[in-house]
Structures are given as structure tokens and as C-alpha cells.
Subunit: 223 residues, 2 copies
DNA sequence: CAGGTTCATGACAGTTGTGTGACAAAACCG
DNA sequence: CGGTTTTGTCACACAACTGTCATGAACCTG
């Protein structure tokens, strides 16, 4: 779960942002001043910080500088001022992005995602977790209970494809198409590989909990 | 010196951007289509890429996806379209930022700086440690158990490339591309050099613990 | 419950991927 | 220049993987 701290003095805007972010699946909490924001972040560090520029007391620029003194958290400025000087100054102070109000929530979350992807790059590898099962596309690794599991290339591609659409059914046709690149072919092939994959990633392969069959529809991977 | 590649089909805009960037102290060069841009970046990788969305042939989104397939250079979209859908789609495709034309050059460069600051964080470590193995890119040195190991230039480049993306799989294609600069070539070449490298940096070369093979995927270096 | 459909699985032969040693060309260097 | 190191190519052997098929179980449907 991604936690976002919103530092904004206007109650209406702050609440609107918090609601919209929660709607999108974030854990969001607010602060009405820079001082309060700094304090809250020190207590429970957020994964992202949104900050307004015009704040009572300590202003946004100073707030960013103080945050940056000992933290590398992605900071996005959300300001009413659409002025190159402000934008440049905010970025120079250490912000990562600058949006002008009113912001489209979809754009905001897309930018937060892009920023987190960038902040993560180089440090850790991204991992998808399904209970006791972990899949990391970039590390080319599958783990069950934290222990690495050896899977073959096709099994891995198949698993990644299913993980990419976690929770959604994929028909054998779709899988043949996306994993094998076959426009046509024997759908049984998919069964065989699903079977082999189950042997490796399910505690009880005859009673799959992750990679389940939806009779007549296809397969899906669930959490 | 920072090199920026500008992919933009409108000659006037491209030239204006190139001039403005040079004015600001960047080395800037352009491409009038996605295909040309991809080719130029492959030959001489840029530190930043600016890309338009509406391009003849391959469009901007596809261009970004192709760049992202094997590179995480900071990408900024510069587009005339101010539409949330486009912005979200571009960021999802892998862009880091999105600016709407006409852009203020000062804002553009400030955003480029912010982006590079972010992209550098984490990667700038000059000595990387993988258990008993140490790789120092700057010193051009490799140590096993603290003892220096003599590796050849290509072996060293190969090792650095793998260390730079520690924990992530790199395909033989990517390695050929990045270590040798070959756009095409015999992938077995990589095997041979990996084999030679293992002889030097692995305690038990037949049972590699650091430089491991991921059948069908490529190689990776792990801690 | 009979008949048809859909799915799981084990076996097998053909194919592919990888490690390695040998060798010649190229680069390097006193 | 002549010797040494490095590099890239090749061929071969072996292990691992893939796709097909046959069989039987599980599941629907009327």
C-alpha cells in the first residue's frame, strides 16, 4: 500500500485530494501547514508527498528544502501558480514534479506511479506478490515461501502474462497469442504448461489456489 | 556534458529546441522520426530524450515503449496535446515527464535537472559489493575475497554492465548491444565471455553463485 | 445417469539452449 | 618486429525444454 502525505492549507482542496487518492487505492493523510507536514512525515514516512507552495508560516519552497535535507522521498508540488519562475524554483529546491491546479486525479496518480518507478529504479527489483508466491519479471525469478523456484522460460512467460492481468481470466487463445505468439494452435498446449507450472508454484498442485481453472473460460492467477 | 536527443518531426520546433538547449550548455541533437531517434540512441546513447507524440510512422507512445524495453534513460514528452488521456498513456508507456507546447526552456531544463538528479540517485555507487565479490567501475578493479583479480577489458565491461543492473536479468541481445555495441551478432559470444569471467570471479565456476544463467532469458549478477 | 465436453497428467521423441575446448585472427607491447 | 594476450568463431556434447498424443478423470446438460 502506498502512503501519500498531502500538505495543503485549503481544507476543501486537501480533503478533495485525500478522497480522490483513497478512491485510487492509496493511503492518504493530510497536513494543513508545512510544520505539521514535516512532523507527520518524520513520525510516519510517506512514500510520496504532495505539497502546495503557498502555505501559512513556512512556505512550500522551504518545506521542500527541509524535507530534502534528509530524505529522498518523491515530492510533487501542486500549486495554483502557473509561473515558470515558481516551477523552476520548486524543482531547484528539490521537488520532482510540479502540477498546476486544478489537477486531474488520473494525471496525478500516473505521475506518482512514474515517479515511484523512477525512484525505485536501480535500487530494488519490482516484485508481484500473491500470498506465498512472488513473481519478479525483471529478476527472472519466482519464489514460493521465499524460496526460489526453477521455472522454464515458457512457464515464466506464462506466469508473467497471468500475473500482469492478476485476477482476470485469460482464455487459452489469448495465452497462446501472447505467450507463444501463435495466432492459431492447439489449446491443449496451454493446459500442459499450466499443469507443469502448478507442479512448481502450488503447495498442492491438485488443488490450485493461485493458478485456477475457469472451466470453459480459461485460467487466472489470483492473490 | 549532458547529451539530449530531441525526437520531433516539425523542423522549426526541433531546431528551436536544439538551439535553446545548446544555449543552456547541453549537447543536443535531433531526429525527425521515431525510427531515426531509436537508431541514433542505439548508436550513441543520450542522457535525456525529448519526444513528441505525433510522429510520422511509429508514434511517440510506441517509441517510448521501444526505448524502455532495454533502457531507462529519462524520457520527457513534449507535445501539443493537453489531454489527460494522452498524459496518462505516455507516462504509462514509460515516460518520466510530460510538457505541453509551447514549453518554457527554463522549465524544461529545470525538469531535466530534477530528472537526472532522481535517475542518478542509487546508481552512482562506484564500488559494488556482491558478497565476496567487489566491482569498482572507477578504479577498474575487481576483487574476490579482497584479492585483486585480473580481468580483460571486455570481461570488465561485461561485469560492470551486469553490476549496474544487479539482480536483473539481461538478455544476450542487451549485453551484445551495451557491452559490444553490436546491433546484431552471434549471441554465443556472450556465453564464451561469461564462461571466461566465471573462471575468474567464481569460487566454483561450474556452480556459479554470482553470475547465474537464466535459461532462455539471459544472465544476471546477484548478491 | 448417459453422453458429450472439458480438463489434468504421464510418457516420449524431437528440438533448443548452454558450457566448453580448440583455434585463428587481431590487438597489444616491449 | 616477434612474442604474448585477448578476442571472436566454431563444433560438439550434454542437459533441459517443448509440443504432441493418449488416457482417464471431472464436469456439465438434458
Amino acid at each position: 500500500m502506498t502512503a501519500v502525505l498531502v500538505i495543503e492549507d485549503d481544507d476543501r482542496i486537501r480533503l478533495a485530494l485525500l478522497l480522490a487518492l483513497e478512491e485510487e487505492g492509496y493511503t492518504a493523510y493530510g497536513a494543513a501547514s508545512a510544520e505539521e507536514g514535516l512532523r507527520r512525515h518524520q513520525q510516519t514516512p510517506a512514500d510520496n508527498i504532495l505539497v502546495d507552495l503557498m502555505l501559512p508560516g513556512l512556505d512550500g519552497f522551504e518545506c521542500i528544502r527541509q524535507l530534502r535535507r534528509d530524505d529522498d522521498v518523491p515530492i510533487v508540488v501542486v500549486s495554483a501558480r502557473d509561473d515558470t519562475h515558481d516551477i523552476v524554483a520548486a524543482l531547484e529546491a528539490g521537488a520532482d514534479d510540479y502540477l498546476v491546479k486544478p489537477v486531474a486525479i488520473k494525471e496525478l496518480t500516473a505521475r506518482l506511479r512514474a515517479l515511484r518507478r523512477r525512484a525505485r529504479a536501480g535500487t530494488a527489483v519490482s516484485v508481484q506478490v500473491f500470498g506465498d508466491l512472488e513473481v519478479s519479471a525483471e529478476a527472472g525469478e519466482v519464489r514460493l515461501d521465499g524460496r526460489p523456484v526453477a521455472v522454464t522460460r515458457t512457464e515464466f512467460r506464462l506466469l508473467c502474462e497471468l500475473a500482469l492481468h492478476a485476477g482476470k481470466v485469460l482464455s487459452r487463445q489469448q495465452l497462446l497469442q501472447r505467450v507463444w505468439g501463435y495466432d492459431t494452435g492447439d489449446e491443449r498446449l496451454v493446459d500442459v504448461h499450466v499443469g507443469r507450472l502448478r507442479q512448481k508454484i502450488e503447495r498442492d498442485p491438485t488443488n490450485p489456489r493461485h493458478l485456477v481453472t475457469l472451466r470453459g473460460l480459461g485460467y487466472k492467477l489470483q492473490r
